[in-house]
Symmetry: C2
Subunit: 108 residues, 2 copies
DNA sequence: TATCTTTATCGTAATATTGCAATATACTTA
DNA sequence: TAAGTATATTGCAATATTACGATAAAGATA
């Protein structure tokens, strides 16, 4: 008990919920929004932008990267992060399609 | 330690991450997708559609309802659930806007 | 009223997440 | 090479989530 029963859901459901989960925290929303705002690969100053310690920010960055939402390129002793367009596009498409279906709905 | 430091983020960031969090579980993705698919208010058979116990499903439904993603109307001793279009539209808009910004980006 | 059906709540165990201090790693520069 | 800078990892405490058996609550029906 306690662990999510992923084996009982479809690959699509598990995959989209994993992607969604990566943004299910205000710090990770803030990181992605910041990367979108500055419109360039960011090396080094993400920690300064957030009210969290360096290890905590590093952990959130790792989660975003594992989920495929951001990309990180090594540049000297710094790392340049930027948002992965395709992941955001996938979320956009998922909710767009759902929204279209709901608009046609006769329910409620 | 351990609790999310919501007080350090903006209301918008907290609010969108709360909405996103509601779908950060395959069971809740499955529930919402099922409600969209059947295109009608569903009374009673959501539990039969999911590989989880009745209390667990009830708990997930409660989370979706609290987050505003679904609506529940009492109908006799059953409850009719359906997706709240505006919540899905909000998620769609959020990722659409972000996607547009990224398409214009010169980064990476 | 007694029973059935449907959904919610309580209590609890297992697991996951969040956050940070301490420390390690890796690259840069003096 | 030594010191500095940037990021990652480890280890751990606090908290949250997930899941379900048992039970309660509320309306339907015999």
């Amino acid at each position: 008990m306690g662990a999510t029963k992923t084996e009982f859901f479809t690959d699509k459901q598990n995959s989209i919920s994993t992607l969604i989960k990566a943004l299910a925290h205000p710090a990770r929303v803030a990181i992605v929004e910041y990367l979108v705002k500055v419109d360039t690969c960011i090396c080094g100053d993400i920690v300064d932008e957030l009210p969290l310690s360096q290890p905590t920010v590093s952990q959130h960055l790792k989660e975003l990267k594992t989920a495929g939402l951001i990309k990180g390129n090594v540049d000297g002793n710094a790392i340049c992060y930027c948002v992965d367009e395709t992941a955001i596009a996938r979320l956009r498409d998922y909710f767009s399609k759902m929204s279209v279906k709901l608009e046609k709905s006769k329910c409620c």
